[in-house]
Amino acid sequence: MSEDAQTQLREQIQQAITDNPVVLFMKGTPEQPRCGFSARTVAALEATGSPFAAVDVLPHPAIRQVVSEISNWPTIPQLFVNGELVGGCDIVTEMYESGELAETLGVAPPDDAPDTVPDGEGAVPGPAPMGIENRLG
């Protein structure tokens, strides 16, 4: 990738983080996660009922690299809320279970929200996420 393309990619990713109050960088899509950790993070977000944008990092390895440079965080998934890194699968799961996640997202979780993150595999699909998908693809 040329330096120009790298700079442009970085700007696009930075914009995705700035423009979307809740954005998840993940492997695959919310409908078809391609990694168990991404699936689990999607399941936690969906269980809160919060809308979120998602960006699939798989189409271009450079996306993953640039996201990690911006966030100083080595792994995917990564959840950003209001432009700030919240964490990866472990932190999002812990925050879901303590109730902090809904608070951070500014939503009241539905009354029937489970206490623990529903199993990502075979979880009942939540409401369709709003916002971008693969906009960098």
Binding site: F37, N72, W73, P74, T75, G87, G88, D90, I91, E94
Partner: protein, 77 residues
């Protein structure tokens, strides 16, 4: 390919006083779960606590260590 024991020893060497439990999640030597209890985490955000553990392995995370799941705790007085 690292073993759970190696991962544990490396975290303990890098974070003095840490009590570490490591589990090989798949038995394949590339997906690990580390639970780390350390005084060195005191006053740090959860993000920075996890970064301290990731930093022990640098680019190995995402490479030979495909996934490292982390739980950090500070001793509560």
């Amino acid at each position: 390919m690292p073993t759970s024991e190696e991962i544990k020893l490396r975290i303990e060497a890098a974070i003095p006083g840490a009590e570490v439990a490591v589990e090989d999640l798949t038995g394949g030597g590339d997906h690990f779960r580390a639970e780390v209890l350390a005084d060195a985490f005191a006053g740090k955000s959860r993000l920075d606590q996890h970064r301290m553990v990731y930093d022990v392995f640098g680019p190995e995370v995402g490479g030979p260590i495909h996934a490292l799941s982390i739980k950090t705790q500070t001793r509560t007085p």
